[in-house]
C-alpha cells in the first residue's frame, strides 16, 4: 500500500533495497513500496526485470531465451563430447580431439578457405555497390525512382530458395556451371555473384541510415570552397559514412559466411563452402567434428557482430 503523502518522508527516513534491487521505502518500520522506484533512475537503466514483479512476465522471458539459446549451447557443449558412435546425443566424456580432427579434415579446411575467399570478395563488392546505391538514391530525384528503390530492396524480400533456384537456372543458361574446373578463385565466381546479389541491399540499407544524419550543406560547403564533386564526396561524405561502411562490411561478411540456401544452389563439387560442407557431413553421420566446425563458425560470427555493434556505438 502506498501513502503518497508520506513518500517524501519515507525517503528521508531511509530505505533499503530488496533482492531485485528495488528501493523499498520504510515507513514506521513497515516496508512500503514507493511506486516511483519501478522506473529507471539515473545510472541504473531499467532492465527487463524492473518493469514488473509479475512472475508470469519473467517466466515468459525465460522460456523464450531458453528456447532460442539452449540448442546452440548444447551444440557447443557436445563438441567436446567423447563419442564416436550412436550419434552425438549421450555425454560420454570431455575431449578436444574433435577440434583437432576438424582442423585436420582437408576437405573441410578447403571449404573454410572457400568461404573466407567468397566472403571477402563479396564484402568488398557489396560495400562499394551498396554505398553507390545508397548515395545515388539519396542524392538524386528522377522518374521511376521508387521502382529503382524497390529493385534494390527486392533481394532482401525474396525467399532465399527462390533466389537460389533462379540463380542456378541463370548460371546454367549462361554456361557458367562448368566453372568448377577453373582455377581458384575464379571457380568461385558464381557463388560470389550470388552473395553480392543478396548482400548489397543490406549494405545499402545500413548506409542509407547513416546518410540520413548527414548535413548536405557540409558537402555544399566543400564545393563552395573549391572542391570538385568527387573531392567533396571523398573529403566530406565518406568520412561521415565510415561507421556505416564498416557496419555494412561486417554485416555483408557475416551474411556471406553463414549463407546456406543460395550457396547450395550455386555451388558445385569443387566449390563447396563451409556451411554446405557441414550439411553434407551431417548426412553421413553426426559426429562431434561437426559440432566443432559449427562452434567455430558461431564464434566467428559472434566476434564479427560484436565488433560491428561496438563500432557503431563508439562512432559519432
Amino acid at each position: 500500500m502506498t501513502l503518497p503523502g508520506r513518500i517524501g518522508r519515507t525517503a528521508r527516513e531511509g530505505c533499503r533495497h530488496d533482492d531485485d534491487g528495488m528501493r523499498v521505502g520504510v515507513l514506521g518500520g513497515e516496508p512500503t513500496l514507493a511506486t516511483v522506484d519501478v522506473v529507471s533512475r539515473g545510472d541504473n537503466p531499467a532492465g527487463p526485470f524492473d518493469y514488473s514483479r509479475k512472475w508470469s512476465l519473467r517466466l515468459v522471458f525465460l522460456l523464450g531465451t531458453v528456447f532460442l539459446y539452449v540448442p546452440i549451447v548444447v551444440l557447443i557443449v557436445f563438441s567436446f563430447n567423447d563419442s564416436r558412435r550412436g550419434g552425438n546425443v549421450i555425454w560420454k566424456g570431455f575431449t578436444t580431439k574433435y577440434y583437432g580432427k576438424a582442423f585436420g579434415n582437408e576437405e573441410l579446411m578447403i571449404a573454410f578457405g572457400n568461404s573466407l575467399t567468397i566472403a571477402v570478395l563479396s564484402t568488398v563488392a557489396s560495400v562499394v555497390l551498396g554505398t553507390l546505391a545508397a548515395v545515388f538514391l539519396w542524392r538524386f530525384r528522377f522518374p521511376l525512382k521508387s521502382a529503382v528503390e524497390g529493385l534494390v530492396t527486392l533481394p532482401i524480400v525474396i525467399p532465399e530458395i527462390c533466389m537460389g533456384v533462379a540463380l542456378a537456372m541463370f548460371f546454367s543458361r549462361f554456361g557458367w556451371q562448368g566453372v568448377g574446373d577453373a582455377i581458384w578463385p575464379f571457380n568461385l565466381t558464381n557463388i560470389v555473384i550470388a552473395h553480392i546479389t543478396f548482400s548489397f541491399p543490406f549494405a545499402a540499407m545500413v548506409i542509407r541510415t547513416r546518410l540520413a544524419s548527414f548535413n548536405p550543406e557540409t558537402a555544399e560547403a566543400a564545393r563552395d570552397l573549391g572542391a570538385s564533386e568527387w573531392r567533396a564526396f571523398r573529403d566530406v561524405l565518406i568520412p561521415h559514412l565510415r561507421p556505416g561502411i564498416v557496419a555494412a562490411a561486417l554485416l555483408s561478411f557475416t551474411l556471406s559466411l553463414d549463407d546456406f540456401v543460395v550457396t547450395f544452389f550455386t555451388s558445385g563439387p569443387g566449390t563447396v563452402t563451409f556451411p554446405v560442407k557441414i550439411y553434407s557431413m551431417v548426412r553421413f553421420s553426426v559426429t562431434p567434428e561437426i559440432n566443432a566446425a559449427s562452434t567455430v563458425l558461431i564464434l566467428m560470427t559472434l566476434v564479427l557482430t560484436f565488433l560491428a555493434l561496438r563500432y557503431q556505438r563508439i562512432a559519432p
Partner: protein, 399 residues
C-alpha cells in the same frame, strides 16, 4: 497631368549606393527567374550590388531570398536570366569555380576535421604550400578572434564559435563576394547583438562585399548599406534602410518594415500642385506635389492605393491639435508601458483601433486622464505615404 507626374517623379529619391555611380557593380542579377517544377520561386528579378557594401536580402519565409543566394553561389541555375560577377557571366559556372564563398545557415563545419583543417580546407584544395596554409590559417583565426582554437574539434565548440570557423573558412580564400545565409538566426539574443557588430566591423576591415539573407528586418536595417525587400519571389524595393522606413514603395514593404496603419484611398484627383484624395475615415486630404510617394497618380485607378502612417508618428492629444495635422477622434484605450515609450491604443468610433507610440511625457499625461477619455490621434501629412495596394504597380524595381 503630365506636369504633375513629372513633379512626382522628380521628388522621388533614387537609391544609388554610397559608392559613386561610375563604379561597375560587383554583382549583377539580370531578369532572373527560377522555377522548381510548376512552382515559381523567383520571378524576373534584377538588382545590382556595389563593391564593398553590405547588401541585405530581406523578406518573409518562402519569398525566395535563400534561393537567390544559392543561385549566386552556384548551387542552382536560373530558369531564365543571367548572373554577372565583375562583368563576367557566371550563370552556369560551377560553385567551386566562382570567386564567391558562402557561410551556410547551419555553418556546415566539417565535423571530422579540426578547426585548423576546416579553415585551411579551401587552401588545401587549391594546393597551396603547407606552411603558407598554416600561416594564413593563423591569420584568419585571429581575424575572427579564434586564436588558439586551431587544434579544437567542432564538437567542442559553441554555436557562435562554429560560426566564426565557418566565417574564417570562407574569408581565407579572399573571395570577391561573401554570402551569409541567416547568419544571426541561430544565435541567442545577446550573442546576436554582439555578432551583428562584429560582422559589420569585420566587413569594414576586410573590405569584402557581403550579401546577407535574413527574415529579421531590424537585423537588415541595422547592418546593411542597402536592403532588397522580396516577397513571393518578386523584388519589392531596393533602398537604403532609412528610405525603406520613410518612403516604402508599396503596402507590403511599409508593413514589413515596422508597422503601419493603412487607409484605403477611394479617389484620387490630380491638381496642378497637389493630389486631392478621398480617404476612408480621414475624409478629403490634399497631398502637396513636393511630397514623394510610392506610386504615381492615375496609374492604378480608384481603390488601388492606400495612405499609410506609422504608429511612431501618431501623437495623442486630449486638447488642441496643430491645424494642418490629419486627425481622428476616439477614446483612450490600453496603455502598454515599455520604458522610454509606450504603445497607446485608441478606440475609434467605427469599432476599429489605432495604435500610437508616445514618449514618456505624453505617457504620464495620458495615464493621468485614464481610459475612456475622448482623445484625438493626429499626425503630419508629411509622415504619410501614398502607396499602391497591388505589387505590380510598385516602382520598387531598380536596375
Amino acid at each position: 497631368m503630365i506636369a504633375s507626374r513629372d513633379a512626382f517623379r522628380q521628388a522621388a529619391s533614387t537609391d544609388a549606393p554610397r559608392t559613386p555611380a561610375a563604379v561597375e557593380p560587383l554583382l549583377s542579377i539580370e531578369g532572373v527567374s527560377k522555377r522548381f517544377g510548376a512552382v515559381e520561386v523567383l520571378v524576373d528579378l534584377s538588382l545590382t550590388v556595389a563593391p564593398g557594401e553590405i547588401f541585405a536580402l530581406l523578406g518573409p519565409s518562402g519569398c525566395g531570398k535563400s534561393t537567390l543566394l544559392r543561385l549566386v553561389a552556384g548551387f542552382e541555375t536560373p530558369s531564365e536570366g543571367r548572373i554577372l560577377l565583375d562583368g563576367a557571366d557566371v550563370t552556369r559556372v560551377a560553385p567551386n569555380r566562382r570567386p564567391v564563398n558562402m557561410v551556410f545557415q547551419s555553418y556546415a563545419v566539417f565535423p571530422h576535421m579540426t578547426v585548423a583543417e576546416n579553415v585551411g580546407y579551401g587552401l588545401t584544395v587549391d594546393r597551396i604550400a603547407r606552411d603558407e596554409i598554416d600561416r594564413r590559417v593563423e591569420e584568419a583565426l585571429e581575424q575572427v578572434q579564434l586564436d588558439g582554437f586551431a587544434a579544437r574539434r567542432p564538437e567542442q565548440l559553441s554555436g557562435g564559435q562554429r560560426q566564426r570557423v565557418a566565417l574564417a573558412r570562407a574569408l581565407i580564400k579572399r573571395p570577391r563576394l561573401l554570402l551569409l545565409d541567416e547568419p544571426l538566426s541561430a544565435l541567442d539574443a545577446k550573442l546576436r547583438d554582439a555578432m551583428r557588430l562584429e560582422l559589420v566591423k569585420l566587413q569594414e576591415s576586410v573590405g569584402i562585399t557581403f550579401v546577407i539573407v535574413t527574415h529579421d528586418q531590424s537585423e537588415a536595417l541595422a547592418m546593411a548599406d542597402r536592403v532588397a525587400v522580396l516577397e513571393g519571389g518578386r523584388l519589392r524595393q531596393v533602398a537604403r534602410p532609412e528610405t525603406l522606413y520613410r518612403r516604402p514603395a508599396d503596402a507590403f514593404v511599409a508593413d514589413f518594415i515596422g508597422t503601419v496603419h493603412a487607409f484605403p484611398v477611394r479617389r484620387i484627383a490630380v491638381e496642378s500642385d497637389s493630389l486631392d484624395l478621398e480617404v476612408e475615415r480621414l475624409g478629403t486630404l490634399s497631398l502637396p506635389a513636393t511630397l514623394p510617394s510610392g506610386c504615381l497618380p492615375g496609374e492604378q485607378g480608384d481603390d488601388g492605393a492606400v495612405l499609410v502612417v506609422r504608429p511612431e508618428h501618431i501623437g495623442v492629444a486630449t486638447g488642441d491639435v496643430p491645424a494642418d495635422h490629419v486627425r481622428l477622434s476616439g477614446q483612450l484605450g490600453d496603455i502598454a508601458f515599455q520604458g522610454d515609450h509606450s504603445v497607446v491604443e485608441i478606440a475609434l468610433g467605427d469599432g476599429s483601433a489605432l495604435s500610437a507610440v508616445v514618449d514618456e511625457h505624453t505617457t504620464d499625461a495620458l495615464q493621468k486622464v485614464g481610459a475612456g477619455t475622448p482623445v484625438t490621434a493626429h499626425w503630419s501629412i508629411a509622415d504619410m505615404n501614398l502607396l499602391p495596394r497591388d505589387a505590380s504597380a510598385s516602382r520598387g524595381k531598380y536596375p
